[in-house]
Assembly symmetry: C2
Homo-oligomer: 112 residues x 2
């Protein structure tokens, strides 16, 4: 439940969250990784429409924010694997809420 009254305080944390999740890709990438570790190409395939460039940029940002972990394996050819961290996983509440709300919203707006 939202606390009443001291708005500014609560807003700060929402601002923090929004800042870390800004743009149209981060949540989708995280969502893709929520079903298991994946490689660059695999993520690119699941997150429809994203370019290599954006995926690269976003993954770096997510790594800097400790939402994703990047690991290189010295196989041949070397493979790189991205895993969602525990901290990233803690976003599943948000993604879940967003998912259900998105469903309702589509009905509401696009006409039932």
């Amino acid at each position: 439940m939202l606390t009443k009254g001291g708005c500014p305080k609560n807003m700060l944390s929402i601002r923090d969250a929004l800042e870390a999740l800004e743009g149209r890709w981060k949540m989708l990438i995280l969502f893709s990784l929520s079903t298991g570790p994946k490689r660059f190409g695999q993520i690119a395939k699941e997150v429809t429409g994203i370019s290599d460039r954006m995926l690269s940029k976003e993954l770096k940002n997510l790594e800097a924010n400790k939402l994703v972990k990047r690991e290189i394996y010295s196989t041949f050819p070397p493979t790189v694997e991205y895993t969602i961290t525990a901290h990233g996983r803690s976003l599943e509440n948000v993604m879940d809420a967003l998912h259900y709300w998105g469903l309702a919203h589509r009905k509401k707006i696009m006409g039932k």
Copy 2:
């Protein structure tokens, strides 16, 4: 809980949600309105940093998406009041999740 497997389907609803909530202001405006109906100036004061222009634009967008309702009262001077709709209110789950996650994130990143 997130369903496993059919990612594309679930992603669609997340995309819908993200689209409706894009930008750094909408959620904050909605959050401000979640504590009660407010007038333009009041929202502007609570959502620190927003310009009149952006607030005006965002309110229109939120109204188009049926998240906010705008009412004019023929007092003198005429007052305009913005109220969050039931549909907007259903976002409180999201805002709430975001709020708690933002708190945790700040600790994680800014150093405990």
